[in-house]
């Protein structure tokens, strides 16, 4: 965090000083609620994903494992996440750009 004192200018002259602290930008969490994760998909994307999972057991199992954690959280930064999303891109469920957007914390 950067902090400094800035001059206070009044009617063209320095009449005092004030503390200025630049807030540290908050890093968004990489772990989000399961409901929030689902909300990142459009309804059409979600339906397409479910349909793709019905005919692709590997995708179905991967999605289930990623979302079945007992704490109801989904880890966007999990190393297991990119292959699942690459699979969904390959199957036409998502575009590469949408895949990137959904996985961005």
């Amino acid at each position: 965090m950067a902090e400094r004192y800035e001059d206070i200018i009044h009617q063209g002259r320095i009449i005092g000083r004030k503390l200025v602290v630049d807030p540290v930008p908050e890093t968004p969490p990489t772990t989000i609620d399961r409901d929030d994760f689902i909300e990142r998909f459009t309804p059409d994307e979600w339906v397409l994903g479910q349909r793709a999972a019905q005919v692709d057991p590997i995708l179905a199992q991967a999605l289930t494992l990623l979302m079945a954690k007992s704490d109801g959280k989904v880890n966007l930064a999990s190393p297991r996440m990119p292959p699942v999303f690459e699979k969904m891109v390959t199957l036409g469920v998502l575009t590469q750009e949408r895949s990137r957007q959904i996985l961005t914390p």
């Binding site: 965090m1 902090e3 009044h10 009449i15 005092g16 000083r17 004030k18 503390l19 200025v20 602290v21």
Partner: protein, 155 residues
Amino acid sequence: MADVTLSSIIGNGGEKTPASVNGLVGNGAFSAIIGDSLRGAAFKESLSGALTANTYKNVLSIAVPGRLLIAAAYRRDTISRQVGLKITLDGVIFYDVFDKANSSIDRGPLGAGIILQSSSIHTHNYPFKTMSVDIKSSLTETDKIAYIIVYTLDQ
């Protein structure tokens, strides 16, 4: 007869800078939750930055006449600590309160301004020729103490 100017009757010329404020929540007492109301009124919140435990840090110094409307300091997280606010007007310590340790976010001393439960806010109007505001915490801080100071400067 000496000249009487308007400024000697009204405005800064006719008013004395207060030396103290009495009857507010005092040293070691439980302060009120004020941060949410002040932010809700669109007053600008500033961060303390680094603080050394139990040591005042100057956050504002003014060397021309003006009026103090609002001055508050408060917690930004739920770690138990004391928060202090000191206001010096014309070289005299007008308000110096180190509140009771507690862990409520947005709670802290209010040296100028009145906040009602309904979040209605009234400003004070304390004239000064110089003003200095300091804040402190009972803990060593990074950025978890905030403050709001609203003032005017004379033409």
